[in-house]
Structure formats: structure tokens, C-alpha cells
Symmetry: C7
Subunit: 95 residues, 7 copies
């Protein structure tokens, strides 16, 4: 597995994105539609001007919504993941 | 439901936007016309350079005006919502 | 009525803009000509990096000049208003 | 008359710009040629990140040089003025 | 060898990028696919506004993922290296 | 004469730019070639975020090199000058 | 000779860039290939927001790698030099 750097977050995109367990449906036609996935790993967080780091607002296991263009794709063990910045994550889906 | 991150706000767009109860009418023809909606959920607020967060200026239940291009669309339970930044909200409609 | 957020200001554009009581005439032909109006409501002011807010330099009732492209249009009670940032206001017309 | 806001400055452009009393001649052909004028009114000055304002470096009566594209035009009492930012002023002409 | 300056990092791109020991496979078709490599040398780190430097989050020997367009190519002793900014590194591959 | 504002510097471009006394020759063909001139007057210096000003690194009489596109042209007493920002000055020519 | 201002550095580009003593070869075909040279003079260093200057990370005599588009060309005593910002320097070549 990999450890994201700084404010990067490793996300596994949800398989069936059209209709999730929590009832969240993402529109097909929206030009910039958010995507859903699960947080797999987080970095040490964003660095402030003071040099301190702020712990990420998401944690391993969180179901999250993110923008369509968020992140870079990587494949680990044959599966596809996304490495995105914490700021690309729009919301956490409540259980 | 979802919990917005940081300065994100979850907004339910008003059904009948042409003429609201409060008498606010939004022009059809304006190139960048604001939209009206209701705040459903807010995040922890914008992060300052110091790492502190500032509580959002809007709260659940607020009727708000926002710019036409604000936010990303999501569907929850078959209904469409917007996830926008607090700064995209122009004003709160007084009751 | 509405309450502007942060550094937003609600302005009612002057009806007869060509020639005002104070004698200020705005040229027709200028490519980026300022507009005149009256402040109807102000927000809590711009937020500093420290999280503090600075009270707006304009107040309800002020006659103001603003740039041609300032703000978003809204209609309240059948009348058209502008929601602009305080920084889009160029000057206050003295009484 | 008007009171400029913040770092805005009200300037009356010099009538005869080709040749001034101080002997400053501005070239016709320069693509981005500075203009000359007189400061009529200043605002409270630029706001720092701390919220404090810095008194403007120019004052009423100063003859100033500014860039060609500086400011917005307004007409007061039938005469044309410019509302520009203090940073658009290049230099003060010495008496 | 060379010593990177500031937040620069010297990286040796992995020979066989399609399939690594750790099982990470990078997709061929992704428009902006990350690359994998090994950190050869790091600089003194990014400078904060205060003038202090923050030690890099990666160190010599780290296997890292980086964006496709990261860095400048140099050849040392006949081999090709990349000089990139620490912020271009997305994640560290765990051993 | 004029007094530059803030970080502005008044420079008199050297007449014979192809070959100077100090032996500095500026190439004709370079796309963005620096120019040489003499500092005639300086402003009070660049303002920091704190509101303090930093004394300019150049002074009256300094021979300086600057970028090709630096500054705005003005004519004083029939001679052409440049009003540029201190940051457009690349180096001081040693005597 | 000249004294660079602020974070500017005067660099003499290496004559034989294809193959250096240290074995560093720079590829011909790279679209944005770094260049090699020797530091001839440095400025007082980059200014922080506080007004303090940070001593440059390179010194006279350092062999350095820099990006292809770094700096402005000047000729001193018939030889060609580059005036670049310290941030355009990628790495120091170890002796």
C-alpha cells in the first residue's frame, strides 16, 4: 500500500456509483458531477504557514464525495485508486 | 445524509424559484443570476492561516441566495442538492 | 428583505442615472462606467486572516458609485437590487 | 463631491496633457503612456492584513502621473474625473 | 552527484514501471498518470514565510509516486534523473 | 522632476546601449534583453504586510540593468525616462 | 562586473554543456532541459514578508543546474551571462 504525502488522501472509488446503499445517486448528465468513494489512507495533513500540519478532516473508512476531476489515478494490486488533495473532498457520507 | 467538509455548505435549491413566499423574484434573463435555496447542513467552517476554523455564517434552515454557478450537484434519496463553498452564498433571506 | 453575507453589500441602483441630484453625470460611452445607487443593507464585513471582521466602510442610506460589472442582480418585492462586494464600491457621494 | 473608499483616489486629469508647466511631456505614441492629473480627494487608505489602514502617499492638490488604463471615469458637476487605486499612481510631480 | 536546492528532490525513475515489486501497476492510458521512482537526494526543504525551512517528508531511498509532468530531467553518469518539487510527490510506497 | 511612489524608481535609459564604459554589451537579438540606465530618483520603498516600508536597494546615481519590458515611459524637460518597480531592476553595475 | 539585486544570481553558462567533468550530461531532446553553469555573483537574497532577507543557498563558484528558460541574458566584457532568480536554480553539482 502507499502513504499519501501532506494533504493527499488515497481514495477507492465506489464500484456501483449510480445507486449507493445510503441512497445517494449521482446524476449522469451533470457536467462536473461529484464522485463517491472510501478513504483508504490519509497523509499527515496540510501544512500551515507556520510549518505545523493540520490533521485531515477525513479518516480511513470514511465514505466521501469528491469532484469529478479530483486526483491522480494509481493501480495497487490490480485495483484502481485515486490520490487527491483533502480540499477536493466535498463531504463525508453519514452512516 | 452527508456532512460537508470545511467551508462547504449543503443546499436544497428552492422548487419554485420564479416567485418565492418572501416576494423575491429572480430574473430569467440575467446572465449570472443568483439562485435561492435552503441550507441543509454546514461544515466545520473555513480554516484560517492559523489552523483555526471560523464557524459558518449560515446555519441549517437558513434561506439563502447564491450565484448561478455555485457548487456541485449531488442526489440524496432521489432529490438533488448542491454542495457549495460558504463564499458562494450572497445573502440570507430574512423571515 | 435580505442580509448580505461577509463583505457583501445590497445596493438599489438609482433610477435616473444620467443626471443625479448631486450633479453627478455618468458618461454613456465609457466602456467601464461606474454606476450609482443607494446602500440598502450591509453584511458583517470582510474577514481578516485573523478571523476578525472589519466593519464595512459604507452604511445603509449611503449613496455610492460602483463599477459597471459589480455584483449579482436580485429582485425583491418586484424591484431589482444588486448584491456586490464592498471592494466593488468606488466612492461615497457626499450629501 | 465624492469620498473615495479605501485605497481609491479621485483625480482630475490635466486638460493640456501634451506640455505641462513643469515641462513634463508625455509621448503620444507610447503604447502604455502615463497620464497626468491632480488629486482631488483620497480615501482612508489601503487596508493591511491586520485590518489597519495605511494613510495614502498622495494628498489633495498633488500633481500625479498615472498609467494609461488607471481607474474608472465619473462626471461630477459636468466635469470628468477618474477614480483609481493608489497603486495606479506612479509618481508625484514636484512643484 | 547533485544536491537539490530548497524543496527540490532528485528522483530516479523506476525502470519497469508497468509492474512493480509492491504490486503497484500504473495505467497506460490515464491522461495524467503518476510515475514511480526512488528518492536519491533531497534539499534543505521548503522555506516558510518566517524564513525557516521544513525538513522534506521524503528521504533518500524512499519509493515514491509522482505526477506525470513532475520535474526537470537531468543525466548524471549516463543515467537519467528527475529534479522535482516535494509537492509533486503524491505518496510514499510502503515496504 | 518627479518623486516616484512606493517601490517605483525613475530611471534614465543609457544613450549608447550597445557598448558601455564598463564593457557591458547587451545582445541585439535576445528576445527579452535587459536594458541599462541610471537611477534618477527612488520612492519610499516597497510596503510590507506590516505597513512598514523597506528602503530601496538602489539609489540615485546607480547604473542598473533592467528587463526589456520594465516600466512606463515619461518625458521630463524633453528627455525620456522610465518609471519602473524596484523588482524590475536585475542588477547594479559596479563602478 | 555587476551586483545582482535581491534574490537574483549571476551565472556563467558552461561552455561544453553536453558532457561535464562531473559526468553530468544534459539531454538534447528534452523539451524543458536544465542547463549547467557557475555562480559568478549573488544578491542579498530573497526578502521575507517581515522585510528580512534570507542569504542565498548558492555562493560564488558553485556549479549549478537551472531550468532552460531561467533568467535574462547580459554580456559583460564580451562574454555572455545569465541573471536569474535563486528559485530558478534546481541543484548544486557536488565537487
Amino acid at each position: 500500500m502507499v502513504t499519501p504525502l501532506g494533504d493527499r488522501v488515497l481514495v477507492k472509488r465506489s464500484e456501483a456509483e449510480e445507486k449507493t446503499a445510503g441512497g445517494i445517486v449521482l446524476p449522469d448528465t451533470a457536467k462536473e458531477k461529484p464522485k463517491q468513494g472510501e478513504v483508504i489512507a490519509v497523509g499527515s495533513g496540510k501544512m500551515l504557514d507556520s510549518g505545523e500540519r493540520v490533521a485531515p478532516s477525513v479518516k480511513k473508512g470514511d465514505k466521501v464525495l469528491f469532484t469529478n476531476y479530483a486526483g491522480n489515478e494509481v493501480q495497487i494490486g490490480g485495483e484502481e485508486y485515486l490520490l487527491m488533495r483533502e480540499d477536493d473532498i466535498l463531504a463525508v457520507v453519514n452512516k
